[in-house]
Symmetry: C2
Subunit: 152 residues, 2 copies
DNA sequence: CTCTCTGCAAAGCATTTGCACATTG
DNA sequence: CAATGTGCAAATGCTTTGCAGAGAG
């Protein structure tokens, strides 16, 4: 089993390095903001017998070890991504597409809030919603402010 | 039925103003970031027969009308609040307490992202997590950086 | 060899939905 | 009175969990 790459974090931890966990770790590099089902599909290409329960148990310990970030928005299924770099998300209200985005200017904003409310060890997640360029091109004009809600 | 206060938005809409909906609207003023169950409890004080299904259907149309904001974080149950003013949330990792927070400096950050990625009609939700002052006081010292994860 | 992990299947929980009856405008 | 809304209970979808056997160290 590969013990020098993405697996290193697990090896150093109090958890055992199993082939299922290694496969999940590798699958995480195989796409952005993957759902548990997405991960299951990818993991099963290598290791057909793996169960969804194992995916959930694995991402949970990877989160505890700081190796994955979990993204949720409204009631949608959780998305998992390797903790390579801190980033935030842009979600299209129309097509539900998710884009990763770096927001370097957010740091000072968060520091300010932490200081004002006396919070320690702060982290933050910013989710920007709106209509992406392709959906705007495809859709009827919208000249008014505020939420654009179709009544289905 | 009161038709001049919080009910006005519903009255002007294509939806009927029922006593259940009015009660939900009033219940929303009765606390911050309330869960569906919280709303149900409050609504039932006035109107004992109301069902959870009605709460969910009602908050959904209120969201569509822009009268409530919905806050979710990780897998937690959704929280509902009247759309009085735009605000964001501070969530304590330890006690799970939620604090509303105004973040006036966020506007330019979001505008920048919208421009860069060509998104229209953008909105944003910022959730800052960390350890609140009372939990920090109560807990063992934490001098290292990063997430503080107790193994239960 | 012991402790941890896994697959399976069942349970859990928040939310949604179908339907027959009640209510609104 | 026609259209819409409601209560109830069942269904849904994601996630978690108990257990007995498999695998890691």
């Amino acid at each position: 089993m590969d013990s020098t790459g993405v697996d290193a974090g697990l090896l150093r931890s109090r958890y055992r390095l199993t082939k299922q966990r290694s496969a999940v770790l590798h699958a995480l590099d195989d796409g952005e903001h993957l759902t548990a089902e997405d991960l299951l599909d990818r993991v099963r290409r290598q290791l057909p017998g793996v169960s969804l329960g194992t995916i959930y148990r694995t991402v949970d310990i990877l989160r505890e070890l700081g190796l994955v970030q979990i993204f949720t928005h409204n009631g949608m299924a959780a998305r998992y991504e390797a903790s390579l770099s801190k980033h935030h998300h842009l979600v299209c209200d129309v097509c539900r597409d998710i884009t990763n985005v770096n927001v370097p200017t957010l740091g000072p904003v968060i520091k300010g809030i932490a200081a004002q409310y006396r919070y320690d060890d702060v982290d933050a997640s910013l989710t920007v919603t709106g209509r992406c360029a392709s959906c705007a091109a495809r859709a009827p004009a919208s000249t008014f402010e505020g939420t654009v809600e179709d009544r289905d």
